[in-house]
Symmetry: C2
Subunit: 303 residues, 2 copies
């Protein structure tokens, strides 16, 4: 299964032309999950030719404008474009009210199934149990209620080597083998070891999205061993005091969390508009956690 | 006095990459007036290097997303950028409520003077009496409450030719001459004709913004003789029935209004996303009203 994330925005609250506000598209198989939706995200989706019908779930981390202002425009456009697929929006208290008041004054009647799931940003909850993955909230520490999202693929069954088995082999036995259970066939006095008749399943993979947050060690156990972690790095270490003041993280802090959680790869983003170039972020983070990448807009990262 | 309008968006509701949603900046002297503010307008202002402090008045025609969704992001950014100048937002009922609920959930405290003026979209009212101009609402016919805006410069005094007058000439006499009144000086038995000692004042100029609206002849008297009229032309005449259905205008209809109102120049915009090229709009409008221009993003039009 393809499991990847495309970054649409690596900017933060103050707008600059070189960087867009937060938005990412996580894709598994042929389905896409939109994570945050800053102003203009619908134009980023057009630029990247991401097909809207594939997006059925949108996750909003918090109600600061650079993370959600594009959602009302996106939903309005989906409606204009005759969308028929269901769409579920997960976000903190207030999001639904904000959208509905805008629909009301625009006299917009949404003609597809639009659902809202209000998430508790203070707890670790599984908010979506999907065919391919589960999505769990990651409580973050910000000025207003805010959570990240942990996407974890489900354990897949082992792959059955059908051609090695007898022709009339019972389905119940096949299921046992796929689940790694050896089969003893009493009737024919035969034993089939799962190890002989199946291949190892694809390993589970996990992607963690953590934006916006102050440095938060208590999340390390939840983030342990994820393949890829996106963590905000609004400032470099020189502005640590500013990071603390504004409940954001520095590149160093993002790398410290990555190291403690033993993640596979760290992507950093949400860079403050004050930085014209980003080398310092990379240098600083890599000094602590080597496998760090600066998130780049338009780029797809395999997880 | 410089009096000009810069177009920031000529698109309509359905997003396309080639055209942005509605927004314009009218400038007189060193002050700017923002007219409509579709999603992403703050990025257009950055692109065009338009200085935010110069904008003290924002006019929103109606609460369809392509005309106002950029306002919340713009105001939030002005606040982040430590704006100190006052800002007044003119718009229909609902706008203030929509903005305030978003400030509430974002825990945003606006630190500059932000005022709201709720406009009655059904009447012709002067909503701003400014040093250089007046702004009047133009009632339009759309699916939801909607009005245009008529910007008219104030009559300027005649320019005094000071060097031709005696040195100790009284200030009250000067004022009379500037207002075109001849002076008879009883004491010195001298007569000073305004025509001899002053130059003609700059003529008044007017700009009308009409978006979005069905074809509406009843507005012709209000629009009569304006120097430049922007009028929406969402469709070409081939889709007249669609224009009627959606309370929009065709290029032909915009030109008919321009002709009847005897305007100086017609700018058309708000083109539907279904049109990849725009030649037909131009041909169609010019067949009726020769001095028609397709509004182009980034271009500044003198009024």
């Amino acid at each position: 299964l393809k499991f990847e994330v495309q970054i649409l925005g690596v900017g933060s609250a103050t707008p600059v032309l070189e960087r867009h506000p937060s938005a990412q598209v996580l894709s598994i198989d042929n389905e896409s999950f939109l994570i945050d939706c800053g102003e203009g995200t619908q134009y980023r989706l057009l630029e990247q030719k991401i097909k809207h019908p594939r997006i059925r779930h949108v996750f909003i981390s918090h109600l600061h404008g650079d993370h959600y202002l594009g959602l009302i425009g996106l939903i309005s456009s989906l409606n204009l474009n005759q969308r028929s697929e269901e769409l579920t929006v997960y976000g903190p208290k207030g999001l639904r009210e904000i959208l509905e008041i805008q629909f009301k004054y625009a006299d917009t009647r949404i003609r597809f199934d639009l659902n809202f799931v209000e998430v508790d940003t203070t707890a670790r909850n599984i908010i979506l149990d999907h065919q391919f993955l589960t999505v769990e909230t990651i409580p973050l520490a910000h000025r207003i209620p805010c959570c990240g999202f942990l996407f974890r693929t489900k354990p897949a069954p082992r792959k059955l080597l059908r051609e090695l088995l007898p022709e009339e082999f019972p389905v119940t036995y096949m299921k046992m083998l796929k689940n790694g259970i050896d089969v003893h066939d009493e009737l024919n006095q035969a034993t089939y070891l799962a190890a002989d008749f199946t291949l190892e399943a694809a390993t589970e993979r996990a992607y963690a999205y953590c934006s916006d947050t102050a440095y938060l060690e208590r999340n390390v156990p939840q983030l342990a061993n994820v393949n890829t972690m996106y963590h905000e790095a609004t400032f470099t270490n020189e502005l640590l005091s500013r990071a603390i003041e504004t409940n954001h993280s520095t590149a160093t802090q993002a790398a410290q969390i990555a190291q403690m959680a033993n993640v596979g790869k760290l992507l950093i983003g949400h860079f403050s508009s004050r930085y014209k170039t980003l080398e310092t972020f990379e240098t600083e983070a890599r000094a602590i956690f080597e496998n760090t990448l600066l998130a780049e807009e338009g780029v797809i990262y395999e997880i």
